[in-house]
């Protein structure tokens, strides 16, 4: 097959990895953001940790793999993106380190002060990645000041423009609603009622921001151009909007899993919308379109792409299979009795 075909396959896989990462890690990041607002006592806090405990680590691997796939399939994009967004990436990294450690350490010492300390870090460590990922992707959608040598001509502060901040807020809200629906699905009783109520309130803000972001993108980014060329792509934003509308529908009917899946459809559709709009760019230059890093000018050799395709074709289905099995095994309803002999954390 042609080199081009593999470059396109890896572009699609690149998008899929990000989408799966946002859908999966999104709910546990959201749970972390909600923790201090919704949990009133230690039992409720433990229920929330228990609801994400068996999954968060595996979910985060999708981020590592998305990074690894960028390195493997588009090394020049990886090199320019990671060195250019240096400060933002280290903030993300430190936040993820803090968060992982907080989940593991909080239950290890029987002391309220100790737990409060790690709860706070879990919250910060969930909020910052959501914000940074949203800001980063909005900036990529808009294009970044990359010169002909792939040098980043902006600064960290230039990343915090209004459109990008709107993207950050969007991610925080989307993950919060996503987390709330997951927790409502997993947890019983009074806490669930509060979660459902909060999810509905947050949804209003989420809906406004999603619509605003899609509209601003029309003016501030070239993302919608691809949609005029290939109208079939409209299925992605359509999926996002349908998912968005179904969230309150299912919440009102107390169909928690359906509400969670609708939120997942929104995140999936939104990510696919953005990635499809970028094509064939991975890291567009706002200074000169010629300097953009695309899947064609930044990819690995045909041989590497072929080998990586074989690896992905064999192993991604296996990964999905055991991930699915884990979700089925551990998606039980968390009750007080469950917590009394809870394992892990």
């Amino acid at each position: 097959m042609e080199h081009n075909v593999f470059q396109i396959i890896w572009f699609v896989l690149w998008g899929v990895l990000w989408a799966v990462y946002f859908v999966l890690d999104g709910f546990d990041l959201g749970a972390g953001i909600l923790l201090p607002c919704v949990a009133k006592n230690e039992t409720e806090r433990r229920a929330i940790y228990q609801a994400v405990g068996p999954f968060w680590d595996g979910n985060e691997v999708w981020l590592i793999t998305a990074g690894g796939a960028t390195f493997a399939a588009f090394p020049k994009t990886y090199a320019v993106m990671f060195s250019g967004l240096y400060t933002a990436l280290y903030l993300l990294l430190f936040a993820l380190i803090i968060r992982g450690v907080a989940i593991e350490f909080r239950g290890k010492v029987e002391s309220p002060g100790w737990r409060r300390f790690w709860d706070f870090l879990f919250w910060i460590g969930s909020l910052i990645p959501a914000l940074i990922l949203g800001v980063a992707f909005a900036n990529i959608f808009k294009g970044l000041p990359i010169d002909e040598k792939g040098l980043f001509r902006g600064s960290f502060l230039s990343l915090l423009n209004p459109y990008a901040l709107l993207g950050g807020v969007l991610f925080i809200l989307a993950f919060s609603v996503h987390g709330a629906t997951w927790l409502a699905y997993r947890i019983n009783g009074e806490l669930r009622e509060r979660l459902a109520r909060d999810a509905k309130i947050l949804w209003i803000f989420e809906a406004v921001v999603v619509v605003a972001f899609l509209l601003f993108s029309l003016k501030l980014t070239p993302l919608w151009n691809n949609y005029l060329k290939a109208p079939i792509l409209f299925v992605f934003p359509l999926l996002a909007v349908v998912g968005l509308l179904l969230i309150p529908y299912f919440l009102n009917r107390e169909r928690w899993l359906a509400a969670f899946l609708s939120s997942g459809a929104l995140i999936l559709g939104f990510t696919a919308w953005g990635v499809a709009g970028l094509f064939p760019n991975l890291f567009p230059s706002s200074l000169n379109p010629e300097w953009s890093l695309t899947i064609f000018n930044s990819s690995s050799s045909p041989l590497t792409l072929k080998i990586m395709t074989v690896v992905a074709v064999i192993f991604v289905p296996i990964v999905l299979a055991y991930t699915f099995w884990t979700y089925r095994t551990f998606s039980y309803r968390i009750t007080k009795e469950e917590l009394s002999y809870a394992e892990g954390y």
Binding site: F55, G58, G67, P75, A79, I97, F105, G344
Partner: protein, 435 residues
């Protein structure tokens, strides 16, 4: 501080800190799996308690291993941009394969194991820890194939201004990488074995849970003796490979300045890098030629055969190598001592005390080993192909200095907490037998 040195130091901090946790993960996952398997086979509750006790320590240790691993993947792009561009076609794919084959498996099944005690049948639960252990070791294989390629690049062609993959099989079956794997992973097993022996010895000396720790001890004594011996033999083969593929590293490891036929082996020396000589040395004639090339008259290249800008730091490499080998010898002796007393360790309190004091030493040995591997490779980032100085990202010194300082502070705090927790739970001992 300039960007190159700050980035070097930052990579060193990140790699060495990460490597404080990885070896115990590699070995203790397997030991936990062995204890749990004995429980599933025999029904002996002590082995279930052993799996839970050692498994908990494994989890505490694992947490920091995972989160500090992400740093390393990020750093190739953030701090070593031109490296990533130049060799990403090969190196990047190896990292991606590692993530796909190993990280998912490891992260998924460690959670299945931690949360599954009451939800899975004993056999499936035991399978979960075996899969976790397998995944950790697969991960080690791929990252060492990647590192092996940096040490001894094969299977590539320079095309389109970068190194491109030409022969995937050559990269995967790179002899250097496999020798590195067979050296590093058993070293991790030895470290884990001494960890279990040391903690068991501490409890045995206090007559705490004697029967429980006797059982843990017996398994770990056999394990540690086997891998200490293996490591010593394999270390020699690995050294021979270095002699053939990385002459500058060998010369620095031995502080050998002049090219010699029948080169002596230096037991002790104070290398004086400025004046290209050793101030004081104790040598054994012809031994280096014999060890490195299996002939007493073989020629060994000295450092002076290479221009100064292509030599690695001599003192650091020379001393790290001696610390590693010296400790390795001690590990062989002590593990054989433990093996001899494996049925009744309490009959030798002196051995138990030695085991307690030895517990931290494998950490020093294994970090020293990495020092030899990585510092000894300098000034190359990919031996003979690309220099470290050419690989560094175009960043501002302030950026890198800030993150370097942040790493040092942040990692120091996390490291202290994690080792404190490890010590806390190790001292606490296993959960009491359920009535």
């Amino acid at each position: 501080m300039d960007v190159l040195w700050a980035s070097r130091l930052q990579f060193a901090v990140a790699a060495f800190f990460h490597f404080l946790f990885v070896p115990l993960t590699l070995g203790l996952s397997l030991l936990t799996a062995i204890y749990e398997t004995i429980y599933v086979k025999t029904g002996d509750e002590d082995y279930k308690r052993a799996a839970r006790f050692w498994g908990r320590l494994f989890l505490i240790n694992f947490a920091l291993g995972v989160v500090t691993g992400i740093t390393l993947e990020f750093q190739f792009g953030t701090n070593w941009r031109y490296y990533s561009e130049y060799v990403g076609d090969i190196f990047g794919s190896l990292l991606a394969i590692e993530a796909t084959l190993a990280f998912f498996l490891e992260s998924t099944f460690i959670a299945v194991w931690a949360f599954g005690w009451n939800r899975l049948s004993p056999k499936v639960h035991c399978l979960a820890i075996w899969l976790t252990a397998l995944a950790s070791n697969i991960s080690a294989l791929w990252i060492l194939i990647a590192n092996g390629w940096m040490q001894h690049p094969v299977g590539y062609v320079i095309r389109n201004g970068r190194a491109e993959l030409q022969d995937f099989a050559a990269v995967v079956f790179n002899k250097f990488a496999w020798l590195e794997f067979l050296h590093t992973v058993p070293a991790a097993y030895v470290l884990s074995g001494f960890f279990v022996l040391g903690v068991s010895a501490w409890h045995l000396l206090r007559k705490n849970e004697v029967e429980f720790f006797r059982k843990s001890f017996r398994v770990a004594a056999v394990w540690t003796a086997v891998f200490s011996l293996f490591l010593f033999v394999e270390g020699h083969l690995h050294g021979t490979e270095v002699a053939h593929t990385q002459p500058t590293k060998l010369a620095a490891m031995e502080a050998l300045w002049e090219t010699e036929k029948g080169a002596p082996w230096t037991l002790f020396a104070i290398p004086d890098e400025k004046n290209e000589r050793n101030l004081f040395e104790i040598k054994i004639p012809k031994l280096l030629s014999l060890l490195a090339f299996h002939s007493t008259e073989a020629e060994v290249k000295g450092l002076k055969a290479f221009p100064p800008e292509e030599r690695p730091p001599v003192n650091l490499t020379f001393w790290s190598f001696r610390i590693m080998v010296g400790l390795g010898l001690w590990f062989v002796l002590l593990s054989l001592w433990a093996f001899k007393n494996r049925e009744n360790p309490l009959q030798s309190p002196r051995m138990l005390k030695a085991l307690i004091f030895t517990l931290p030493l494998p950490y020093i040995a294994i970090e020293a080993g990495w020092m030899v591997a990585e510092v000894g490779r300098q000034p190359w980032i990919v031996y003979g192909l690309m220099k470290t100085a050419e690989a560094v990202s175009p960043l501002s010194p302030v950026q890198v200095t800030v993150t370097l300082l942040a790493f040092v502070v942040f990692y120091a705090v996390l490291g202290v907490i994690d080792f404190w927790l490890l010590a806390h739970y190790a001292r606490k001992g296993p959960e009491p037998v359920k009535a």
